[in-house]
């Protein structure tokens, strides 16, 4: 193994792990945009809420003296709880009125501002509920043991994260193309008006898609929580990162979001090895570069297919 290849492999594995989280959040954002045409600025807050809830779940499991392995189902349950509790309320209560605005520019702007207002509210809600101090649940990371690849140790949890992201990608694909509900979602994403004329309850599909998107963001946060310090501010950082992923892929693209998340994840990790100072520029620089040459993203070839 050459001097370069070792760190490169290591960077790639770390990058794929990072990309996996990024994918989960970004694909939720993309789903919401694809179906509702709303760029959800509050999406990062769903991620943060998922992370905080999961961190609390860890504390609770420790306090109750339950077996530590309970944390894994608890991560998923946290995500579901957050998504189901917040998604429908936000979509029905706070966003639905914007769908009636006829002029496209005015509607988009109202949605950007409304979701930003929701972001602000949720940011403070986090502070009120969880206080200002960071939460660490890192021991959940080591429960599954360690795998050595070329002598470098990786937690199996990292590999599990990648597996979950792949499963979500496959599940989304199957659900969208293979179930009645999925086909309704595809139809609404493409043409809400004709969908309603075919008997599809468009408003309900909006709520479903928004909630699933919120669950995915919360799942990203819950699964990332053992690997990060859960702190206020993680939401505002994640929203711009997932914007970058979605913009690179093309708004509404699902498989594309996976590719873009991988590119950003691996690019970021490689940069950490070689130019650590510039690593955090990678996502935004990639986004700029892509948008200069492909204004609608890498995979948004035709306007017709959005999911």
């Amino acid at each position: 193994m050459t001097a370069i290849a070792g760190p490169l492999l290591s960077a790639t594995i770390n990058g794929v792990t990072y990309g996996a989280t990024l994918f989960l959040v970004a694909v939720g954002l993309s789903l919401i945009f694809g179906v509702l045409r709303v760029l959800n600025v509050a999406h990062g807050s769903f991620y943060a809420l998922g992370a905080f809830t999961a961190a609390s779940a860890w504390l609770l499991i420790s306090a109750l003296g339950w077996p530590p392995l309970c944390i894994y189902p608890a991560l998923v349950i946290s995500a579901l709880v957050v998504g189901v509790a917040v998604g429908p309320v936000v979509e029905r209560g706070l966003l639905r009125w914007t769908f009636g605005i006829e002029a496209e520019a005015a509607r988009e702007n109202a949605q950007l501002l409304a979701t930003y207002a929701i972001f602000l509210m949720l940011e403070d809600a986090q502070k009120l509920i969880w206080g200002g101090q960071p939460y660490y649940s890192g021991s959940a990371l080591r429960l599954l043991g360690i795998t050595r690849i070329n002598g470098i140790p990786y937690t199996n949890y990292q590999l599990l994260l990648i597996l979950v992201a792949v499963l979500v990608l496959i599940a989304l694909r199957i659900l969208l193309r293979g179930t009645k509900m999925g086909k309704f979602v595809l139809a609404v994403a493409e043409d809400p008006e004709v969908s309603s004329a075919m008997g599809i309850p468009v408003a309900r599909i909006y709520t479903v898609a928004f909630t699933v998107g919120a669950i995915l963001a919360a799942l990203g946060g819950a699964l990332a929580s053992p690997t990060i310090g859960v702190n206020t501010g993680i939401g505002s950082e994640m929203i711009v990162l997932s914007f970058a992923v979605v913009a690179i892929a093309g708004l509404g693209q699902i498989e594309g979001a996976a590719v873009a998340a991988l590119v950003i994840g691996v690019g970021h990790s490689i940069a950490v090895f070689f130019f650590p100072a510039l690593s955090s520029v990678i996502p935004y620089a990639t986004m700029l570069l892509v948008l200069v040459f492909k204004p609608y993203g890498l995979f948004a070839a035709a306007q017709v297919r959005r999911i």
Binding site: E193, S196, A197, M198, I200, V202
Partner: protein, 225 residues
């Protein structure tokens, strides 16, 4: 459903859209089993009338009665479930799905039992046999004319009581237009209950299929023959 009621009864319908009153006080009636034409030039208000009946645009005055029940403020998907099928002029296939999936969408959305839906589909394939070989194709890969036929099939799926066909002959090659008209008359022979409202700008094309024609000009009905 009220016995003996018309499939569609529109009374004094007005629609205000994009800063203008596009439809002004239109009244028309489509009896069960009847084929009625709505004739008018581009911009006369035909499409808006059909869309208002379907519930796709808000109505500012007047009543729409479907099968004897007033449907004011009812969203489009409820009207579809009452048995109203709509084929828009620009076809609007769901291009991310196959032809078969497109045809199944209204059946699933309106909650038709699987058995009934499969029978309905088989029946549609009898009237529109050219659809059968296209089943597995992506809707986006079809020609415009083929998409028109799929759109008719899709409208038939939900439209067991009333079909709203918006300029079905528009943009069809003459041979295809003839085939479309033939399919409509076949539909008539097999199903004497379904009512059809067709909008069209060419009176010659309506003459063969419609028993009654309303002419619309600048949002108002000027003649009914």
């Amino acid at each position: 459903m009220t016995a003996g009621a018309a499939a569609l009864d529109v009374d004094g319908l007005s629609v205000y859209l994009g800063g203008a009153t596009v439809v002004r006080g239109i009244s028309l009636r489509v009896d069960r089993g009847a084929t009625v034409g709505l004739l008018g030039r581009n911009g006369a208000g035909k499409t808006t009338t059909l869309r208002a009946v379907m519930g796709l645009v808000p109505v500012c005055a007047g009543r729409v009665t479907l099968l004897g029940e007033e449907v004011e403020g009812e969203p489009a998907h409820w009207r579809a479930r009452r048995g109203v099928g709509y084929a828009p002029e620009d076809r609007r296939m769901i291009s991310a799905l196959t032809v078969e999936d497109n045809l199944w969408l209204p059946a699933n959305a309106c909650g038709l039992p699987h058995q009934a839906a499969a029978q309905r589909l088989a029946w549609i394939f009898e009237i529109l046999p050219e659809l059968e070989p296209l089943r597995k194709r992506w809707a986006a890969s079809l020609s415009g004319g083929q998409q028109k036929i799929v759109a008719l099939g899709r409208a038939l799926m939900a439209g067991q009581e009333l079909l709203l066909l918006d300029e079905p002959f528009q943009g069809l090659a003459p041979a295809l237009a003839r085939r479309y008209a033939e399919a409509l008359s076949q539909l008539r022979e097999r199903d004497r209950q379904v009512a059809i409202l067709i909008s069209e700008s060419n009176p010659a094309l309506l003459a063969d299929v419609a028993q009654k024609t309303y002419t619309i000009e600048r949002g108002e009905i000027v003649t009914a023959t």
